[in-house]
Symmetry: C2
Subunit: 319 residues, 2 copies
């Protein structure tokens, strides 16, 4: 049996500043957020999701969205995106000159209601209206579809329902669609099948995959997506993030572990792993807790160790 290689180059969208910090129990001060973003900017990401223009009541941790967008330093070559949940958020975001906006709804009815307090039909109508407004403002829009590989309330989610939503948004002018494994229910053959179907049905709709490591399959699913031809990956430094509706759910796939795997395989991610690990090393201080990064603990695979001190003497004179 042959094991296929995927694309020679992938792009990473770093989502920790939004998807990670929104769920942390601590509110990170604006200065620290800006420093975090500036440090990430220097790592070589294609995209960085900087913040979310949601209500301060819903997510107090990101109440400083405008200040963050205005104060962060923008590097050429990096696209700075922001999540916008509704038209009010979109107005606020557009005043901050985003390179792109990210809209979100769920593929499953119950998760959409629980997460967004709207039916799927209501969310879809609202997102279509938002795509029109963004289009008039000349800002490209990406739509992130949550729970496409499974819903923590409903279980399996039909691929037909996912593709119908993706098709509707692509037709309406969305520049990209993200398939999100919101609570880590995806498995590799499922990821490969849905990504292949998406790329065949909607070859023009820029596909991104968003994976969680909740059940340990984050990198296995990334491998399957890459083998299926996917070139754009969401990831969060340090594996920050999670989902409030899935008890025990750990966070996003860790950017440093994703970069480490793909770079080991000779895939160009554009990201400077050493620099990124420096940023990840600062995360416990930023969020006030230990983080789950195994790579941070173990180091890159070729960082070698000293043999035990007794070894040289023990084998003195031997071959």
């Amino acid at each position: 049996m042959s094991v296929p290689r995927g694309p020679a180059r992938i792009e990473i969208n770093e989502v920790a500043p939004r998807d990670g910090l929104q769920i942390e129990p601590v509110v990170v001060p604006t200065d620290a957020k800006v420093a975090f973003l500036d440090a990430l900017s220097a790592c070589g990401f294609a995209r960085i999701e900087a913040t979310s223009f949601t209500s301060a009541k819903a997510i107090p941790a990101l109440a400083d969205a405008e200040a963050v967008m205005h104060r962060m330093r923008r590097l050429a070559g990096v696209r700075y995106t922001a999540l916008v949940p509704n038209l009010r958020g979109m107005e606020r975001a557009l005043s901050c000159r985003p390179d792109e906006l990210n809209l979100v709804m769920s593929a499953s009815e119950t998760h959409n209601r629980a997460n967004l307090r709207m039916t799927r039909a209501q969310s879809q109508a609202q997102l279509l209206a938002m795509i029109e407004v963004a289009g008039a403002a000349g800002v490209p829009v990406n739509v992130s579809l949550s729970t496409v590989f499974g819903c923590p309330f409903e279980g399996e989610v039909e691929a037909d329902a996912v593709m119908a939503l993706a098709g509707a948004f692509a037709k309406a002018g969305a520049a990209g669609i993200t398939l999100c494994d919101t609570t880590g229910m995806a498995y590799p053959s499922q990821v490969a099948a849905l990504c292949q179907r998406f790329r065949q049905s909607l070859p023009q709709a820029g596909l991104t995959i968003h994976l969680h490591n909740t059940r340990g399959m984050g990198l296995a699913n990334a491998l399957a997506a890459w083998q299926a031809g996917v070139t754009r990956f969401d990831a969060a430094a340090g594996g920050l993030g999670g989902c409030p509706f899935a008890p025990g759910a750990s966070g996003n796939v860790g950017t440093e572990e994703l970069v480490h795997m793909f770079e080991a395989m000779g895939v160009d991610t554009g990201v400077d792993l050493g620099r990124l690990l420096g940023v990840v090393a600062g995360l416990p201080a930023l969020v006030g807790r230990d983080i789950a990064s195994q790579l941070l603990r173990a180091g890159p695979r070729l960082r070698t160790h000293q043999p035990p001190a007794w070894l040289a003497a023990h084998f003195a004179g031997q071959g």
Copy 2:
């Protein structure tokens, strides 16, 4: 691009009783070890590595190897194996009627010296002598080759050196060879390439792959090995295990996460996941510490949750 499926059925060798317990700081009482083994036997594993016949001085935690082998209940259909480091250990093991014996040496010189206090040449000669003794006793032998995907002291390990060792042991009559990623340095394309080469060069030498999750790639590497046709996997319940020479190295790939992934993909592992998760839930009490099993925390992917209590009232009367 197409994403290949691997074999429809795989076999799992559960190594936690040996590879896990040998490195735990607590010495698990014999009664508890026997209960652990009996619980594992009921899960449906093809093989269980029950203990190691090493010196009590080197590994006090496994000093009760004979008692464990005699007292555990053997289920038909399960092959009970034991690790033996030398001829003295093999004599002890053979008195306990093992179904198979597992020998070990490293593919890299420095790791072999540090771990076994012998040169590779010394280890190879000793293992060849042991294969002869076991053959005379009619007990099949498996040879586990450590550090085949990288050495924590030397870095990259040449595939040619690995294949030369594997070929020598296969020729000498070893019934199986295990390629071990001792400190989690393997990456998927490397795993696939070495497994493909092994299966082409040594189609009769039963290949097992032994993976660690040190850098988050455990299941990604398992996926790649499966795609390359591998049917036999080592794994440790709860992800127990590790390597004393690789600081920060976490344990073996967790059996429950390996089973969960492959069963989700429709691959028959023979293992009852629910029963196994029950055993894993008891591990913190057994080893006196938290364990790293993400699947134990999150539950299988289709274990759904109740929606928030406010949801029904909020959407009363809506579609």
